[in-house]
């Protein structure tokens, strides 16, 4: 479908809605960052950037765009990895990062209501100060909650607590027409028609613009203990993961990490990791209400790990110790990125008992494809982050090898019963792989849903499928 080319008249009309020149970026005022996301593989500069402050502004801009047939791409902090916030068809980028107010902490219903631009790190801090807990914990803490909802972000506590979708109770959404609707509510149960709120979660800004979110909170666990477990070989470490899951102990996180990625992170952060006796580690986290309760909990897991050949179990039970470990873990993506010229990632998810098979496969791929491949991930929930690095390859060579590697990995994931993306979404970069992995009939239904919400296809076009 041909869109209207954004012109001076459109600019004037948008200015009339926003009426604040500091919040409208046009032509050369548009910073380069608006043309890409964090991974930067997809590039396109919008015609105009509008930094909205309230639902009414979003609604009016949307209504104008709908009537004028101008594409609109919503954007949070731009920390995505698949190009979902890149305005492929140009038009209007709707920056929601200034809508970052905490609207209500409802201690009776255990919910918090926020605007979409609230950063994950600010949300976590805010609720913890009130003795509450928002469990989803993606590594990128400067992401907005709107972005997290749009990708159904998972993060490191998914093993025990689930993902973002499990914590969204209600959403205020501006539809492509500009109409504002409320989906869900502060209710614990809901069997009232289609699960529209859940459909909105993970829709990557293609169905509506989230302008308000009510999130479910839990009481804050009083204590956490992490276990860093060195293994003599990587195979032994990863083979232990399914046994931990099977043991019915419920850690909040099960991560795996390897020496070379740890060393990248040490270089990147300029600080030392507290252990260097091994090439492969599992990192587990437990939470509970007392040290004793947690110790009882992890005893069983410690035993399994030692039986499987762990060299030791290292205990992190204070803020300082946790910081030394988790700061390193949190820096992996940036560290790998800074160790090479370019990279792309695979965010596959496989059934939990297949995680070792998937990781081992990605390791052997290094040799068959001929690139460096690094990985780390949420072993406990089957979601892996595997990075293919460009290093000194020529652009052509890189593009070919990357494509080969991706096809191999997505093919393997599918054969193991997995999916293309665990938490980063499809966006623009992974469309081809989603298409290959789903039944065409399912893609057709998705197209139908998109058309029902957005008959003119102006909201974040050319994404997902």
């Amino acid at each position: 479908m041909a869109y209207k080319t954004f012109d001076e008249t459109d600019f004037k009309n948008i200015m009339a809605i926003i009426n604040d020149s500091a919040r409208v970026l046009y032509k050369d005022k548009i910073n380069a960052e608006y043309s890409h996301d964090e991974l930067g593989g997809t590039h396109s500069v919008p015609d105009i950037v509008v930094k909205a402050l309230c639902t009414d502004e979003v609604s009016k801009v949307m209504e104008y765009a709908y009537k004028s047939n101008i594409p609109v791409t919503p954007r949070g902090s731009g920390t995505g990895l698949v190009g979902a916030c890149v305005p492929i068809e140009k038009g209007i980028t709707l920056d929601l990062s200034l809508m970052n107010k905490f609207l209500e902490l409802d201690e009776d219903n255990l919910t918090v209501t926020v605007e979409p631009g609230v950063l994950l790190m600010d949300l976590a801090k805010y609720v913890e100060e009130h003795d509450f807990f928002y469990p989803p914990d993606p590594g990128e803490k400067t992401a907005t909650i709107g972005g997290n909802i749009s990708t159904n972000a998972g993060g490191m506590r998914a093993v025990k607590y689930g993902v973002t979708r499990d914590y969204v109770r209600a959403l205020e959404v501006v539809l492509p027409s500009g109409h504002v609707v409320n989906l869900g509510g502060k209710v614990v149960k809901n069997s009232s028609g289609y699960a529209m709120k859940d459909l909105m979660v993970g829709s990557e800004g293609t169905l509506g613009v989230i302008t308000k979110a009510t999130l479910k909170l839990l009481p804050l666990p009083k204590k956490t203990i992490s276990l860093l477990i060195p293994f003599s070989t990587f195979d032994k470490a990863i083979e232990t993961v399914p046994l931990i899951i099977k043991s019915k102990a419920i850690p909040t996180a099960v991560e795996f990490m390897q020496r070379e990625v740890i060393m990248d992170a040490e270089d990147y952060l300029g600080s030392n990791f507290p252990d260097n006796q091994s090439d492969a580690y599992l990192l587990l986290k437990f939470d509970g209400n007392s040290k004793e309760e947690i110790e009882d909990d992890y005893e069983k897991v410690a035993k399994i790990c030692l039986e499987q050949g762990a060299k030791d179990i290292l205990i992190s039970d204070t803020e300082e110790r946790d910081e030394a470990i988790w700061k390193t873990r949190g820096a992996f993506l940036e560290a790998i990125k800074s160790s090479t010229s370019d990279m792309d990632e695979v965010d596959v998810v496989v059934p939990r008992n297949k995680v070792n098979e998937m990781v081992t496969f990605s390791h052997t791929l290094k040799d068959t494809v001929g690139t460096r491949i690094k990985s780390f991930g949420h072993a406990g929930d089957g979601n892996l982050h595997i990075y293919v690095l460009k290093d000194n390859l020529t652009d052509d060579d890189w593009s070919k090898k990357l494509h080969d590697a991706m096809n191999e990995m997505y093919g393997k994931a599918k054969s193991l019963g997995g999916s293309v993306s665990g938490e980063h979404g499809i966006g623009y970069a992974k469309k081809e792989y989603l298409k290959n992995s789903l039944d065409p009939a399912v893609i057709e239904i998705m197209r139908g849903i998109k058309a029902a919400f957005d008959p003119k296809n102006i909201l974040n076009p050319r994404k997902i499928f």
């Binding site: 990791f273 507290p274 252990d275 040290k291 030791d312 992190s316 803020e319 030394a324």
Partner: protein, 262 residues
Amino acid sequence: MNIIVCIKQVPGTNKVEVDPVTGVLKREKVDSKMNPYDLYALETALRLKEAHGGVVKVISMGPPQAKEVLKEAFSMGADDGVLISDRAFGGSDVLSTSYTLSQGIKKLDGFDLILCGKQTTDGDTAQVGPELSEFLKIPSVSNVTKLIEVTNENITVEMDMQNTVEIAKINFPCLLCVDKDIFQPRLPSYLKKMATKNKEIRVLSLNDFEDKNTDNYGLNGSPTQVQRIFPPESNGDHELWAGDGKSVTTKLYDKIKELKFV
């Protein structure tokens, strides 16, 4: 090398509240842990032992529950632990604490080196280490950020002073207060924890000391007293600058330079 490491049990979080009326730290319901600075001292000791052989003995002064931090030190690799504990030591200030520690250390079987953390997170005076060395009549160096050379007779260290970095060679026996980040402290080991679960901790009380005069200990032996503890006023000082990228960058650089960050 025979090394003694002084460690202290402190509140487990830096979010301890001060009762605004009584000015007393609200310690109830707060977990405790080893003073984070002491972890650097212990790590330094364990590395010296690994490189040069010897024994690492940890010593703490406090109530009976302070045994927990000694046990934690065992799970990090310390060989032996001693708790100095007596009701008569309650309310000690830095001088009295240092004196008490010196009396306890005199009852042990000698040492080549005493290592202390730079300061504690609950007292923050950074005085106990140097005062302890005075009572023991041995030399001491504070703010140690690096070990340069270790021989049978002496140790050469780098210390980070306010305006200078100084290198000192110091003969054994001596005392060093090490700074944060001299080494990344290792994590406690579950295997060592299990192996030392029932390990005995020697307790020394006033009766074991050479000097049994209660006037020299606890509140009696403390020339300083805390008048008032209060939460510091929060400081929201900030400057706002406007201008183009270049002028603001220059300003920022000048400011960082003025504040000695570069």
